[in-house]
């Protein structure tokens, strides 16, 4: 359990090779050069009074409360803005300082309501604390003069209030918005006494550019910016450190509690991934965990058209075991399988894949990474030797040139997006390769040096063009390549990429990127210092997703941008535990640690520990499972915490496959879309009820700690143990820690991981083993995991999904800041205030050709299906390209997407679907059917009345 308050050193930490020794109040203190007197004092245990200073933002020197006396200097300098000097002698407490501070406080309090006892921040107010510290005993000025006491509250934001009557104009919120978040939504309007914090151009917080990250609320020393949950419930009394269950950044949070009720989630300053920052989802959108839609009891039904029936855990598990074994008896051992979830812990995922391999007796296990980052796994393993990003997030602080491809970090990975913006404001250059004009192309104090606005589907042609320039203009880091890479592979890649057909000029008609722009971008990446590639699903979700990943790896190797801070190839993982679910052996061809199932030596280790014979053949991938289901050879599926009926492409195909199965088991918080096709529902646990670990995009293994008991009565891994035991394969663990111990025993890259170590160190990045007992922040430092880096040939092959007279536009799909994946969690929070429905962004030219106006209902149709949604006219997309999200099931964005997929991994090609858009005035046939089926298939039979006592 963590203490409620974290230490605040007043100003940020400084790093320097030079140490400075000084005297503070008679104590000898040694700190790095550049440290403020305030921080030096705090590190020595002396807390100088302060109001405008906090250690998450740079010193400002406005409140004048932190004045100190320095021997030999005139006046009383602010300790927050005065750096330490060798031999300096500082007094932090004298009668002169006491008098001055009391005067300052008196002025603050003269314009501050004296309602401390009923104030929501009572007990957690720095102003209140400082009044006590300086010994304020009277306020001589009264409230008769001008004041702000009746200033109107802004309660427009669903999660926090802005009460200007309590504002002391310290600018901490303004600076947090600028420095930490990088949105610059806040400012101080007015001058002197009229100074007031203003969102946007004196708008409400909701109407302003505010992204609701919570940095301002975190920074506020008073009750001016306050969480509504604290106003409602009061101050928390204890805190538990845990990890956010949203995106792949994996932010560390402190769940601040009253009993077993969460009062607020506060980003943890000690968090390795987020260092005290957060986004609207992690900070505020946790209410889904106790939403009324949650199901807490197991349910079963014979047919998917029957109403659900609540039963005991024992009955549900027995029924599931019997149905699964019956399917196997009828259709064969390989007729059932499972899908693991990137929203679940490593431990929960591990036991599900173990269930499939050891108890089901096949390798039909896959994970949702199939539909997002499976090409990353393939591509980076081929080139570097392991399926993971190369850097930690902090590495970007040393990056000089960021090459951002097919990712929108300020929406998809907001906390890392803020870190990128911080580095960009310091002068790093940015190249964005994306069909869409994402916010990073141009936002306050950030402007991309190049926006390579390529046509969807032309990624590989574009990366080849960049590489062509590097090779033909002599920009290859020959020494790096000679030392670190396979010479045969490099020579044939060099010959291939140097061919004129890969030049920017020849590929320009394919990519749509002017050759001169492409050449300039390539030169910048190759010669601009440390070059780092960051990428997302705009890379992987293509028919050449794996080729593109290898193309980026080629670029990094050719320029020597691997193996040190500031460089690398970095996948921005979508879900919180995508990396972990892949690490845990969720792919049908690999055991944990990415080792092929056909490897007899590896398999035998697992067989000995698991006491089960394992199948040496790869199992079915998710799309293959659907194909096999419609073909009649795959009849039973266990789905852990994923909603494949909403998230996977070609909804008709997916739902037909689910309907063809005889036993579908869903383990989830809610009766999601997939559950409408299920026969057994196991209620799942939210991240607040879990004990385990998540692994984020930088391979960081973070602890997820239980802040409340499972509301279902069982941890998810316990349910799996009970199920397989009922199927005749006894499996038991006393706790999640024992599961991690088994993972460590069986997985070389996790050999040194244990809950005890994670609790001691905070987190570790794998590989964590005897060679690296405290983990590995940077990979491939002295050599590639596979030995020599392997350049792969990346011939551009256009997708078979083509536009035509009937489907002349390209649809590409993505996500937005306020929602997460299929929206199952965020739709059940106040985040719907920002995005109540999916909308279709249409370029003004395409809209005009079709007679569309902003807000019109439109029909979006591809050759596989159609849906209806509202249009928004936007020039963020190039002409000929439309964009939507898939957060709302009623939209059915995936009714439109097709069966095309990546050649190596079957990752769906979500980013390229040929469509037509026309005006509409009614829902699509699919939507009508969806509404009626959904209501019927979610019905729960009323509980039987209790039998009267005889």
């Amino acid at each position: 359990m963590a203490s409620i308050k974290q230490m605040d050193y007043g100003t940020p930490e400084r790093v320097s090779d030079t140490q400075v020794t000084l005297d503070i109040d008679g104590r000898v203190v040694m700190v790095p050069a550049g440290t403020s007197i305030m921080r030096a004092a705090a590190e020595a245990g002396i807390n100088v009074p302060k109001l405008c200073a906090t250690d998450s933002i740079e010193a400002f020197g406005s409140c004048r409360l932190c004045m100190v006396e320095v021997e030999g200097r005139k006046g009383t300098p602010a300790s927050c803005t005065t750096p330490v000097m060798p031999g300096m002698k500082v007094k932090t407490q004298t009668s002169r300082l006491e008098k001055l501070r009391r005067g300052v406080m008196e002025l603050y309090i003269s314009d501050h309501p004296l309602d401390c006892l009923t104030c929501p921040t009572n007990g957690d107010c720095e102003l209140q604390d400082m009044a006590g510290v300086v010994g304020l005993r009277q306020v001589r000025y009264g409230f008769d003069g001008a004041n702000h006491l009746k200033a109107e509250k802004d309660e427009s934001n669903p999660y926090f209030t802005f009460d200007p009557s309590k504002c002391i104009a310290c600018s901490r919120c303004v600076r947090a918005c600028a420095e930490t978040q990088g949105t610059f939504a806040l400012t101080i309007a007015g001058r002197g006494f009229d100074s007031i914090v203003s969102a946007g151009a004196e708008e409400s917080f909701m109407d302003s550019e505010c992204v609701s990250c919570g940095a301002c609320v975190q920074a506020c020393p008073t009750a001016t910016l306050m969480e509504k949950s604290v106003i409602e419930h009061g101050m928390p009394e204890h805190a538990v450190q845990t990890t956010c269950a949203y995106c792949g950044v994996g932010c560390s949070f402190r769940a601040e509690m009253q009993g077993d009720t969460v009062v607020r989630m506060v980003p943890d300053k000690e968090g390795g991934a987020n260092e005290g920052h957060s986004c609207v989802k992690g900070r505020f959108a946790w209410g889904y965990a106790t939403h009324q839609d949650r199901i807490y009891k197991p349910m079963i039904r014979e047919r998917i058209t029957d109403p659900w029936r609540e039963v005991s855990w024992e009955d549900a598990i027995g029924y599931a075991a019997q149905r699964l074994r019956a399917v196997q008896a009828k259709y064969g051992n390989g007729s059932i399988g499972g899908i693991t979830s990137s929203r679940c812990t490593n431990e929960e995922v591990f036991v599900v894949q173990k269930m499939v391999r050891a108890a089901f007796g096949n390798n039909n296990v896959d994970t949702c990474a199939r539909v997002c980052h499976s090409p990353t796994g393939y591509g980076l393993k081929q080139t570097f030797g392991t399926s993971a990003g190369t850097q930690d997030f902090a590495s970007v602080d040393d990056t000089d040139v960021m090459l951002l491809i097919g990712a929108n970090p300020t929406d998809g990975h907001p906390v890392f997006g803020s870190r990128m913006k911080k580095r960009l404001r310091q002068g790093a250059k940015l190249i964005v390769m994306d069909p869409r004009r994402i916010d990073l192309v141009k936002s306050p104090h950030v402007k991309a040096a190049h926006h390579l606005q390529l046509r969807p589907g032309a990624n590989v042609a574009a990366v080849n063009a960049l590489a062509h320039v590097i090779v033909t203009e002599g920009l290859v880091d020959e020494a790096f390549v000679a030392e670190r890479c396979d010479p045969v592979e490099f020579d044939r890649w060099r010959a291939f990429i140097a061919e004129p057909r890969n030049s920017p000029e020849v590929t320009e008609p394919l990519t749509g990127i002017p050759a001169s722009e492409m050449r300039a971008a390539a030169r910048l990446y190759a010669t601009g210092g440390n070059g780092a590639i960051y990428y997302g699903l705009g890379v992987t979700e293509h028919s050449q997703g794996s080729t593109m990943v290898m193309g980026m790896a080629n670029l990094a190797m050719a320029t020597g941008n691997i193996g040190r801070r500031g460089v690398g190839v970095n996948p921005l993982r979508g879900q919180n535990n995508v990396q972990g679910s892949c690490d845990m052996g969720s792919f049908p061809h690999e055991l944990s640690g990415y080792r092929h199932v056909s490897d007899d030596a590896v398999r035998s280790v697992f067989e000995e520990v698991w006491q089960a014979a394992l199948d040496p053949e790869p199992g079915l991938r998710i799309p293959n499972m659907f194909d096999a289901a419609t073909h009649g050879t795959f009849k039973g599926l266990f789905v852990q915490g994923e909603d494949i009926a909403q998230s996977d492409p070609n909804t008709h195909h997916v739902t037909s496959a689910l309907e063809a199965m005889e036993c579908v088991i869903v383990q989830d918080l809610f009766l999601n879309e997939t559950a409408t096709f299920a026969h057994i529902f196991f209620p799942g646990t939210s991240f607040l009820e879990k004990d385990g670990t998540f692994t984020n995009a930088e391979r960081r293994i973070n602890r997820v700690r239980q802040v409340m008991a499972p509301k279902t009565g069982k941890a998810e891994w316990q349910v799996i143990c009970d199920l397989v035991t009922a199927m005749g394969y006894p499996m038991h663990y006393d706790n999640a820690s024992q599961i991690m111990d088994e993972i460590a025993r069986l997985t070389p890259t996790f050999r040194g991981v244990s809950f005890e170590k994670l609790d001691r160190l905070g987190s570790v990045q794998w590989p964590c083993n005897d060679a690296a007992p405290e983990g590995t922040p940077l990979m491939h430092v002295d050599g590639f995991i596979r030995g020599k880096g392997r350049f792969m040939i990346t011939e551009f092959v256009p997708t078979e999904e083509r536009t035509s007279r009937y489907f002349p536009l390209i649809l590409t799909t993505g996500r937005i800041l306020s929602h997460y994946n299929v929206g199952a969690q965020t739709r059940r929070t106040a985040n719907v205030a920002w995005h109540p429905e999916d909308i279709l962004e249409v370029h003004p030219h395409d809209a005009e050709e079709r007679g569309l106006r902003d807000g019109d209902l439109v029909s979006l149709a591809s050759r596989v299906g159609g849906t209806t949604l509202r249009a928004k006219i936007s020039d963020r997309m190039p002409q000929g390209v439309v964009y939507t999200t898939f957060h709302h099931p009623v939209t059915g964005a995936n009714v439109v997407t097709t069966e095309h997929s990546d050649w190596a991994t079957n990752c769906p090609e979500y980013k390229v679907t040929a469509v037509q858009v026309t005006r509409s005035n009614q829902p699509s046939d699919w939507q009508v059917q969806y509404e009626s089926d959904g209501i019927q298939r979610r019905q729960i039979a009323p509980a039987s009345p209790p039998q009267a006592a005889e």
Binding site: G334, N363, N364, F496, S543, T547, P588, H589, H596, S598, E617, P618, G619, L620, R621, N624, D627, A628, H631, T633, I793, E795, V797, E800, E899, S901, W903, A904, T905, N906
Partner: protein
């Protein structure tokens, strides 16, 4: 699985490896199918080749021959 989907997937793999020298391309295509395709998918591919292999890239046919030969000899191809 529909045969059109199977043919497309197999041809996509062959198309990628076609950039490599022929023997290597055949081996890599075979290795990829062996490593990532479930046996029932491979059996369907073998059956399709056996019935003429309509629509399949020549490289796939050669890879299937290698796979069948390896299978007969009990060799693992990865």
């Amino acid at each position: 699985m529909k045969s059109t989907d199977m043919i497309r997937m197999a041809n996509q793999i062959a198309t990628y490896f076609k950039s490599y020298p022929h023997d290597e391309a055949v081996a890599e295509t075979a290795g990829h199918i062996k490593s990532f395709w479930d046996p029932r998918m491979r059996d369907a591919l073998y059956a399709h080749v056996g019935s003429g292999g309509s629509g399949l890239d020549d490289l796939v046919r050669e890879a299937v021959a290698v796979l069948k030969r390896g299978s007969a000899e009990g060799q693992a191809i990865r």
